[in-house]
Symmetry: C2
Subunit: 306 residues, 2 copies
């Protein structure tokens, strides 16, 4: 258990580039303002959906300070600080705390296809990060890391390291793992979170999730889904979710991190949907399919800047 | 084909840390002097055996400039510049050229378990790196990248991009791939290279390799093996190699990148064999096994600094 308990919707802000591939910091500030106007409970930055893997260390620092300064405490900001090296992950986390982050999020250590850590190494990694900061920590259980984090192991980590109070589960069988984790860890956990663009949100809420970290595509909708659910209105939550599921499904399976940027470009929030090579732009037909599904539900992302 | 053709032994310099985990630049210079005294044909830095995955961008820059300044042209230096982002890989390569590198080495783009590029993306990645520099480029075909690079694809890359003249193959079936690559690409390739601590060196030489990029453990031996082989003395090369194979095998299968540092610490070249967490130190029994096998062949690494 840590201090304030965060629940609700904490979308991931995409990292915005101009057509040449440089950081677009004006666009980045627009993204933050859009999310705050969408009444999110907080924002996560430098996550995988933010293309953290395509940034230099200097760019990470620039983005973090720019966003934290611009948010200026209006909403809590979660900064992703994963690195293969425990020392560097701890140092990144310390910098995030200094810069004003409300929380840090980390995957277990990984590099490429072949470097992973065993459970003892993963535990020590999170212990050293926790020792470096006073903030709560969200453990990100994502396929990117290629590391199996069992529910019993996560519950044990939560018991040993009080700062590890949030767990975003987006590996296969997320709902089952969240349910088991909550059973094992009980109130040692402040925030069992849903992830992966919200594609398993209803099952994860049913399993006990109290928050979601989706993309920034329809934050006003997913925030309302979580509020309705936590307020006991499961049928209304489900009806609202189901109406948007074709779009969420198309994002998750056809577009991934390009979906939000395309809609932000289309809605005039940012100037370019560019990603960095070798991450390729959406095929024009896929873009058309995304825009068609989005227009059917008229999301804020297409209206906010107009 | 590029200008000067490099053959022989190009060991990977380990990155040296002190017991606290800080860079040990004095030790780093000692490592370079040891390798030059071992009469290597060149040195590779910031490779996987150098724990490139456990460094910040600033540390990479510090190591590169320190080593290039210290080597001061005594031997050619190959700098590893892989990054998932094509743009950042090109920029790292440009910096390496400015700093005085003789060549850059890159794996195809990868990140974690899930991010890879298709062949068109890999080709474009190397094309953009080549456009950014005038140096020859070594393509590193290693399991770390989780990317299958077929011999026909590599031959096609070599044909399209003249700077891609060196190919270090250390994926499964290395000798077969080198043979096929040489058959397909002929003299478009300056350097088919062996890698992976030299564990497949004899088969790779038989297949046509003209150089090896092993660790810095027994560079004086592996350099002599390649020279003997290329000079037509295959039996002598094999006898020398076979005498050291128990040590090479123990390095490759029991120790990996920790082997060289342990022997350098034991030989007084560096002060500490430390690696960065979560990469763990060798178990004491494994260390004993390594030292026993090393002492049987009395390598320069144990004698040079004494």
């Amino acid at each position: 258990m840590t201090g304030k308990v965060y629940t609700g919707v904490f979308p991931i802000a995409p990292t915005t580039f101009d057509e040449r591939g440089d950081l677009d910091l004006d666009g980045q500030r627009q993204v933050i303002d859009f999310l705050i106007d969408a009444e999110v409970d907080g924002i996560c930055i430098l996550a995988n959906y933010s293309e953290q893997f395509a940034l230099t260390d200097d760019e990470r620092e620039t983005l973090m300070t720019t966003i934290l300064e611009h948010a200026a405490g209006r909403v809590p900001i979660i900064v992703t600080t994963t690195h293969y090296s425990t020392r560097i992950a701890a140092e990144r986390s310390r910098r995030a705390q200094e810069a004003g982050a409300a929380m840090v999020m980390l995957m277990p250590p990984y590099h490429g296809t072949t470097l992973r850590a065993e459970e003892a190494g993963v535990a020590e990694y999170f212990r050293q990060v926790a020792d470096a900061i006073d903030l709560p920590i969200m453990v990100q259980d994502a396929p990117m890391s290629g590391t199996v984090l069992s529910a019993p192991f996560l519950a044990q980590l939560a018991a040993e390291i009080p700062q590890l109070a949030y767990f975003k589960v987006e590996s296969a069988g997320a709902a089952g793992k969240l349910r088991e984790l909550i059973r094992l860890a009980g109130d040692r956990i402040d925030g069992p979170f849903d992830g992966e663009e919200g594609i398993t949100l209803m099952a994860d809420l049913d399993a006990g999730a109290t928050g979601t970290m989706p993309s920034a595509m329809i934050p006003e909708v997913l925030g309302e889904v979580v509020r309705l659910f936590l307020g006991g209105e499961r049928e209304s939550a489900m009806a609202l979710y189901d109406r948007h599921l074709p779009l969420i499904n198309f994002e998750n399976r056809q577009c991934n991190l390009r979906a939000t940027k395309v809609l932000m470009e289309e809605g005039g929030i940012i100037g370019s949907a560019a990603t960095r090579h070798p991450f390729l732009p959406l095929h024009p037909d896929t873009r058309t399919g995304l825009l068609d599904l989005a227009r059917r539900v008229d999301p804020l992302i297409l209206r906010w800047a107009r």
